[in-house]
C-alpha cells in the first residue's frame, strides 16, 4: 500500500548487518533495512538511548539476551521505536515515537499521511 502510493519504506536499526542471510535472501527483502552501527542517525533523530542498568540485567539474566551479539561490543544502546512520514522536501508530516515497543504507529495512519502528501482522496 505504501509503495503503491509512490512512497518508500526504510527500516533503520542499530544492529550489525545480518550475516545469517544469504545474498538471495537479502535480495528478496523488498525494503531497505539500514544498519546504523555507530548510532549516528539514531542520535541525529534524537531517538538514541543507553539501555537502563536494570533493564540490561533483566535482558541478560532472565531473557538470555545479550544485545552485544546483535549490535557489537559495548553497544547496549537502542532507538526509541519510531515511525516518521516525510514529504518530498523532508518535512515530518506525521510520526510517533514511544519507548514502549508495543506501542507503534497505526499502519492506517501511515497510509493516511502518505495520501495527504500525494493528494490522493479516500
Amino acid at each position: 500500500m505504501i509503495r503503491s502510493l509512490g512512497a518508500d519504506l526504510i527500516g533503520i536499526s542499530p544492529e550489525l548487518p545480518d550475516n545469517t542471510l544469504t545474498m538471495a535472501e537479502k535480495h528478496a527483502i523488498p525494503i531497505d533495512i539500514l544498519s546504523d552501527v555507530i548510532s549516528e542517525v539514531l542520535k541525529k533523530y534524537r531517538l538514541w538511548f543507553a539501555v537502563p542498568a536494570e533493564v540490561k540485567a533483566l535482558y541478560l539474566e532472565k531473557f538470555g539476551l545479550n544485545l552485544e551479539k546483535y549490535n557489537g561490543a559495548g553497544r547496549w544502546e537502542l532507538p526509541v521505536p519510531a515511525t516518521y512520514v516525510l514529504d518530498r522536501s523532508g518535512i515530518v508530516r506525521a510520526g510517533e515515537a514511544d519507548p514502549d515497543y508495543t506501542v507503534r504507529m497505526e499502519p492506517s495512519d501511515i497510509v493516511a499521511a502518505i495520501r495527504a502528501i500525494v493528494g490522493v482522496c479516500g
Binding site: P17, D18, P52, V92
Partner: protein, 78 residues
C-alpha cells in the same frame, strides 16, 4: 483490529511476571523522562547515508527526490 490492539493483545498473552513488567515499565519511563522524544511534526528530517542489507549505501535525500519516505526505527530482530 488495529496494530496497536493486536500488539496489546500479544503483550498480555505473554503473562509475564509482575516484577518483570515493572522493570520494563520503569525502563520506559526513565527513557521518557530523559527527554529522548525524536523529531517533531513539521521539523526537517536530517539527511543521512547508511548501508542496507546488501551493503549498498542508501541516502535519504536520494529517496526523497523520488517521493515520500516512511522511516521506521526499530530495535532489532531479536
Amino acid at each position: 483490529m488495529g496494530l496497536r490492539d493486536q500488539l496489546a493483545q500479544f503483550d498480555a498473552s505473554r503473562n509475564r511476571p509482575p516484577e518483570i513488567v515493572a522493570i520494563l515499565k520503569r525502563g520506559n519511563e526513565s527513557v521518557r523522562a530523559s527527554g529522548v522524544a525524536g523529531l517533531q511534526i513539521g521539523e526537517h528530517a536530517p539527511d543521512f547515508a547508511l548501508p542496507n542489507q546488501r551493503g549498498e549505501m542508501v541516502r535519504l535525500s536520494d529517496r526523497l527526490s523520488r517521493g515520500p519516505v516512511v522511516l521506521s526505527f526499530y530495535r532489532g530482530v531479536w
